[in-house]
């Protein structure tokens, strides 16, 4: 008879022992804890802004959002009144301008960096793009005020206001000196450009080379390869990059405060001073004298929070819509 060996056991004494003996459960708990923190933070921000704005909601209700008068100090002409629309409008318009300018340019830069750039240039250019993203926004604001504003007024704002602006009211003069929605949107565009182009580059580089080869082997030109195969494959990621840039533009405070003109009057022209939610909060919260003023500013923060949330959901939906087809490589 052969010697009978003891069979190693593959059972553990209890459920708890099975879970804990290899330490995996602790790792799992640790990561779970951090993940829950994210949810906690979002909820906390929501609760704080909601509670903080109780005063303004009691006073105006939802009409706070589309109220057009923002007068924190009583004057002979205007009573005290808080309406968020000037700030919300300024936020949306300046971000829209930024998006219109930065999305096509940023995607084009990303395409160049990923697909067309000579290898020797790719590294230095890529580093430059990332460097642009790392510049603090106050520097963009400073540059905007000190350098870019004059140039913008002389070469963009005034020529447009004097020609097209004669017929199109929202491009009409007078052009505010170094301030306004248009110049803020332009600076915001410059600020989000590196975000859009860096993400576009990264998602394009992640497109497998067999997609390019398939197009080339059909006799496609470079352009047809990029536009027909590479970009569609990566479109979900590109939309994501643009939305990330948009999120940055919506919340940008410093550069907007320095350039927008901080006027809560609604004027039709894009060249007139305006304000954004972030700029208004930053400039007025420290000086808020009455509780209703402070509560209104917090209400504005809640509105901004809501806008970014809604835009992100729309972005998710867009990504989901476009990726149902391909990008998510279902095999």
């Amino acid at each position: 008879m052969a010697e009978v060996k003891a069979v190693p056991r593959i059972t553990a004494s209890s459920r708890w022992a099975r879970r804990t003996r290899h330490g995996d459960v602790f790792f799992w708990l640790l990561t779970l804890l951090f993940a829950l923190m994210i949810i906690g933070l979002v909820v906390a921000v929501g609760i704080v802004t909601y509670n903080g704005s109780a005063g303004v909601r009691a006073e105006y209700g939802w009409s706070f959002l589309w109220g057009t008068d923002w007068n924190p100090i009583e004057t002979e002409l205007y009573p005290v009144s808080f309406g968020a629309w000037p700030a919300i409008r300024g936020t949306l318009l300046s971000s829209l301008i930024a998006l219109i300018l930065a999305a096509p340019t940023g995607v084009a830069i990303g395409i160049f960096l990923s697909e067309l750039c000579p290898l020797r240039l790719r590294q230095p250019l890529g580093v430059m793009v990332e460097l642009l993203a790392a510049i603090p926004s106050v520097i963009y604001g400073l540059w905007g005020v000190a350098v870019f504003a004059n140039w913008f007024n002389d070469w963009v704002a005034n020529p447009i206001a004097n020609t097209v602006g004669q017929y199109v009211p929202w491009l009409a003069g007078p052009v505010a000196v170094s301030r306004g929605l248009a110049i803020t949107g332009t600076i915001l565009a410059i600020m989000i450009l590196p975000t859009v182009s860096a993400i576009t580059r990264d998602v394009l580089q992640a497109v497998p080379s067999h997609q390019r080869e398939a197009m080339f082997s059909l006799g496609a030109t470079r352009w047809e390869v990029i536009w027909g195969a590479v970009v569609p494959y990566a479109r979900a990621g590109i939309v994501g990059g643009i939305m990330l840039g948009l999120g940055r533009a919506l919340g940008e405070t410093m550069a907007a405060t320095m350039l927008i003109g901080n006027s809560t009057r609604i004027e039709q022209s894009l060249f007139a001073p305006a304000t954004t939610a972030a700029a208004l909060i930053a400039s007025e919260l420290p000086n808020a004298q009455i509780p209703l003023h402070e509560s209104s500013l917090i209400g504005l923060a809640l509105a901004l929070f809501g806008i970014t949330l809604i835009l992100n959901l729309i972005a998710r939906y867009l990504v989901w819509q476009t990726s149902r087809g391909p990008a998510g490589e279902k095999v």
Binding site: P208, H210, L218, G219, P232, P326
Partner: protein, 286 residues
């Protein structure tokens, strides 16, 4: 290149034109389609192909076999200049299609690739619907008539033995098909634009045996209409599908790929002239 790019295809007559093209191809069967004369290929300073001399006949199936690293894929991809985007890759010597040098100064690789299509190792459908996967190449070539595109897509899918399986879901994404179906979709995409030569780079290596069999049947069916060059790891596959076989080996000193023997498949497999071919075929190495 100042010359305008030709965007015309024999698409006008639909199936009739296709039949004519097939008949034309049959006429020339056996004529030399692609020829390499002392053809060398380099990746930077590394010589990947060393003095390849080979004449690939029109309308037949030619298999390139040999162990890994012998340069068979390099040779295949040299035929439609897929290396053009690889930094440091360059060709030397002569490689011709219908007597015209493929690496000539005046050659437009885009026009070349419209005559020399390619099927890749891994199925690589586009991130588009089944229909658009096949239609895309036609659109790239300038076909705008949707009726003709529809006709041609159906023709190509039938030709690729895929029509019956996908006719009810032409709008599903290409990537939702099974691996074997994806590869047949890629073949449909390639033949839809009616190239003269179809290069296949180990088209079955990512597929299961049944899908492999289907692709092999498809190759047999396409034979005659297209000049097919197939790289394969699988010697039995080469024996099954090809009319001619080229056996390649990596030189043990220089590591450059060399052509050892080329001939009709039946002869090469039963009666190889080179002892190295015999050793490889009988499983002594590789």
């Amino acid at each position: 290149m100042s010359e305008p790019r030709t965007r015309s295809l024999p698409l006008a007559g639909g199936f009739a034109a296709t039949a004519a093209a097939r008949a034309r191809a049959r006429e020339g069967v056996g004529k030399t389609k692609i020829e390499a004369v002392n053809f060398n290929f380099y990746y930077g300073s590394f010589k990947a192909l060393d003095k390849i001399n080979l004449a690939i006949p029109q309308g037949e199936v030619t298999a390139l076999i040999g162990p890994s690293g012998c340069g068979k894929s390099t040779l295949l991809r040299a035929i439609n200049r897929m290396h053009d985007k690889t930094p440091g890759a360059r060709a030397e010597g002569l490689l011709t299609i219908d007597g015209e040098s493929i690496y000539g100064d005046e050659v437009d690789p885009i026009l070349l690739r419209r005559r020399v299509g390619m099927v890749f190792q891994r199925p690589n459908p586009f991130a588009k619907s089944v229909f658009d996967n096949v239609a895309y190449g036609l659109r790239v070539l300038g076909e705008r008539n949707s009726k003709r595109i529809k006709e041609r897509v159906e023709w190509a899918l039938r030709r690729a033995a895929l029509w019956d399986e996908v006719k009810d879901r032409l709008n599903a994404t290409g990537t939702s098909l099974s691996g074997g179906q994806q590869q047949r979709l890629c073949i449909a995409r390639t033949i839809a634009v009616e190239p003269e030569v179809v290069l296949m780079d180990e088209p079955c290596s990512a597929l299961d045996p049944i899908s492999t069999l289907k692709i092999e049947e498809l190759i047999a069916d396409l034979r005659g209409s297209f000049t097919i060059v197939i790289v394969t790891h699988n010697m039995q596959q080469a024996a099954r599908v090809s009319d001619y076989t080229a056996f390649m080996l990596m030189d043990s000193q220089t590591r450059a790929g060399q052509l050892v023997e080329f001939g009709p498949t039946a002869r090469l497999f039963t009666n190889p002239t080179d002892p190295r071919t015999e050793a490889y075929l009988s499983g002594h190495f590789g």
